[in-house]
Symmetry: D3
């Protein structure tokens, strides 16, 4: 039996007020509008961050905030449809949301990040927020490498690099199957230029399709197993964080 899911977007203010009073931890999924090859939707990172956040929120009785559907993805801007927020805007969104939940009495704040480019601005935001008195945790899919290595059948295109491949495709197949066009899925194992990633890259010059790896063996069933494993690891982390907060 799972807990009910508390979705702040779908609740009225008095209900959220009661949840905040009861100590529910606010969880913010942070996604991106970013190319994910010819077969995955542009919202892939948002879908995944939201999916993992829902799992965590259920497990700990947290308060799921609306997912931010844009993020810092400048490296992908050569692919149509990608919409990059600037570093400073990305940071500012996280800081503003944190100030709001702090105002409403939160003792801690959790951000679940679905996009590589968001890591730096969210880490910086977390520092600012923490220094301003609200302890903040940024969840970047802990255990992802081990989980992918254990459950996927194909190799990633680079160390720790999972983008539009078997791993991500399976998870989107599990969460939003109608938005995946498996017939268009292609494999691409790009050769990286010697200066990657020390020079800011234009990823379209590296992968023409936008795929890094091989999405073709992806299945919804694998996606469900990957998601369950990601949620389990993330829940462990968030639980440790929650238990470390002052009562």
């Amino acid at each position: 039996m799972t807990n009910p899911l508390h979705e702040a977007a779908r609740l009225a203010w008095p209900v959220v007020g009661d949840l905040m009073t009861a100590g529910a931890l606010p969880i913010l999924p942070f996604g991106a509008q970013e190319q994910h090859g010819p077969h995955l939707p542009l919202a892939t990172d948002t879908i995944m961050a939201d999916g993992v956040s829902r799992g965590i929120a259920r497990n700990i009785g947290g308060l799921l905030l609306p997912a931010v559907p844009y993020g810092q993805t400048t490296d992908n801007m050569a692919f149509p449809g990608t919409v990059a927020l600037s570093f400073d805007t990305t940071r500012a969104i996280a800081v503003d949301v944190a100030e709001a939940v702090k105002h409403h009495g939160a003792k801690g704040f959790v951000i679940v990040n679905g996009d590589f480019g968001n890591r730096a601005p969210l880490a910086l935001a977390a520092r600012q927020i923490s220094d301003a008195g609200l302890r903040t945790l940024v969840v970047n899919y802990p255990g992802m490498l081990e989980i992918a290595q254990q459950l996927c059948t194909t190799e990633p295109a680079g160390f720790g690099l999972y983008h539009a491949d078997e791993f991500e495709t399976s998870i989107v197949l599990a969460l939003q199957p109608d938005d995946v066009e498996m017939a268009r899925a292609v494999a691409e194992y790009p050769e990286f230029p010697p200066t990657f990633p020390s020079e800011p890259p234009d990823l379209r010059e590296i992968s023409a399709s936008g795929v890094f790896g091989d999405p073709r063996p992806a299945t919804p069933e694998l996606g469900r197993r990957l998601l369950a494993a990601l949620v389990a690891e993330a829940t462990t982390l968030v639980t440790a964080f929650r238990e470390s907060l002052p009562a």
Copy 2:
């Protein structure tokens, strides 16, 4: 027969690339996470902006961008669950999204705004974006007053003020009925302090429930009619804008 809806979040990049090449106008719904009384969900403004945007996008073959689920709603921050972005963050999001669609070749940009507090930052963003070379239209529900006056049975709490009342409640009943708790709906016609709105208000001091007006007569059927009228007016505006753009 209606056009198909092009949802950028659900499409892969080559499809969006083709749409941009074909001249599809990008449409950004801008919502808010803001209290709307004890019976409406906090995402009410996002739901409405997204709903109107879908209608416009279908009517003109536009490209619907993911809705921004947060906005400038400082005046409501005394109500739990409200999450206000700062003025500058709100402006920055609009500017960043505009720069992205401009980068991908858009000739114009449409923002559909669902929250009163977003008006000033979005107008400023539109000015900046336009001055930087991308013509931009901000749609603030044109014709709303006449439509509400004509179709609603109750009076608004103030001139042009529709918040958690029959008007908004009906539209959310039409779009997302599961998130409305009509049993909790109450009417409130607050007495405004003499300095309202010349002094920045704390709206909770004005309306204890967060309702302005009377939501109780709201029905899904009325919501559908209101929504259709709003979409029709907005489509006329956006069509005029589109036709004024250079080919």
Copy 3:
């Protein structure tokens, strides 16, 4: 018998110190350097904001601060002589002046705004200032519509739009008659484009003369009556504000 006028620009610091100690409310007129047709001076908005402020200051024994002679008037920049401050500069001036009067012990702060474009930055400034602990009121000519409708003989060019017309021209004739060239006054009732004001406008494309309405029937006598009515309404508002301040 009227009160004396306390003009901070013309007083020495010990006198202002005594007035602040006695609780005089500081009043900041915020104007603009903006085109007002071929017959009115570019400082029209400053002249009017200053004129109304003088009336209020006399009525309540307030401390009149030097009028800011520039404002946010980007929409008029196609007319030579218009000088637009940026949104952020406009906001910053108001915030800085507020911090100064707060430093000197003010319990409240009043801004009298003479320019439409200043509304958004001054409202934002008022929010920032209020959140920082100094209650702030922005006076945007309350009652203007009713007053103009009642006393003027010509129709405005649009709802709530009074620019270089009978209304404004009369008031400048009352306050600074030497700077009005009635011989050059022309009427212009522009046709507004369908996207006005949803798209940031270039007002010169809308009105070639810069006039909106008909200034020709303007008289100094009408100006004195308009001004008296504006001052009376504004004084009521400011008095309510002052009485709501903590002692």
Copy 4:
């Protein structure tokens, strides 16, 4: 016979348009709202900058812009009535005004500065403006030391330091005699702390009255002579600047 004075605040836009087309150089007086002892008005720096600017404008047929009545005067904030803009706001005002006159076709831009604290932000603004393509001159009363030394009967309180003394008092007596209270004039020759000015000072700790020097021998006649000398020196400088501009 002197030239007419072109005051942008008092002219309509077509007249200013003609002046700009004819190459009139825009001149911006930058003042301050700053304590000047118990006998001089807080606007002293504005009065002087405006007075000198009028002289220059007449001499060269320039376009006098409205004087900015606030400036960077943090060091005087312990005296009631002083209103300090921040460094960044001061800079931003100058930059914004410059962008406007550049937009209207100016080939050069002149700022006449009346306040010591404005020097750094205006110099920085001039650099930014110049780098952006509009040549800019900041006039800080050239020749002031020699002129004061030659014409005044009293010594300044420090090298190059003229504040509320015989020099400034005489000029305000010449320009705005009604605002001077000679009966309250006192002399003060403060002892400067050893770290002055290497540590940011609170000037009220140094001079209790706010006077630096001896204002008592001041006369309107001396003021007229000082002003004439300042205007003559400044005109020479501005003329050299104007002649160096491209045609």
Copy 5:
């Protein structure tokens, strides 16, 4: 035979002018003032970044710029003597230096980073600089993990974590032996909290000494070998970058 070292700090402008004309690549070492245990100097990161930069500059005939001796090291601020620049200041320094070398004709720009906390701001700076037209490479000690694993006798305290341990201590012993107090060297293998590094850490709560690992076996000879290996790897990277630049 090695090339001469071109140190911009020690050369006169005409010499640097000739080097720039000849296409010398500017190399900026970016260090930090950051605790490195009780035995290493606070400038350790600067010493190392400068040392590696000298090697690269010699190998490729580059132009060594003065090392920035401060960086982004907030996580260490609980240790006295640590001086953290903010994220934005760190970024701004890199951007400003880049603009200068671009102004002088550089075709590319290399930053050699010595501090973990600088990675994010320098990556962001590199993106900004590159987007502004100057290709930029950030060198974060490529091959460090393999080199340390191969040559050091002790294990690091965490994956990829080399701080005040055998690795760093040996290099400082090689470069600046007088500033190392080996008698104070202690080993510390901290237990990391479960939320590390997902929550912004206070490193002093994790390691009381500031050491991560075991510095005791460090020797100057090992330092020289480590440094040579780091320089060789970095030179390969920079050479690839240089060869990819347009002629």
Copy 6:
């Protein structure tokens, strides 16, 4: 017998911690990478600020911080090798370093400035820092004019202007003789344009060599005497500052 020199860059954190506890005053040399003629190194200002700081630190037992090797030197950007930080970056560095030493318990903060262009941003930083609670002194070589006048054999190129001349060259000869190429030293006494320095200058248009004055008579012995005099004057100032700090 002189005190030992406490160099924060070369000490480990516990040692600096003890010094801070004992009340050592932190001293930050602020230099520049700026052209100094064909015979002096680009780091001249850094070398001098560092040299003076070392003398002060020894005399008062202060804590010498690492010199900032870049500064605000836009006026010299036409000379290759000059690297100008922006005004805001220069200010931000000083503010960040101050916040760090304040965090570690400093009661006061001393900046020794070696570059004319740094004066304004450092004065502004000092104001911000002081207002934030850390008293701050900016040392701009007090007594320099008298010292130069007394000890040098040649005249400066302008009042208070010492740049790459006998004065500066002698001091660099004393501090870093290997970096001076006396064979290339030339004298240049430029004719200043009439608008200098009221218009932001390009110094290369004024002095082709970058020299202002005559460096040829410079000697190391003179440099030592000049340096000793500068250090003595600065020590007097810093001592007065230190004695004025609360215990």
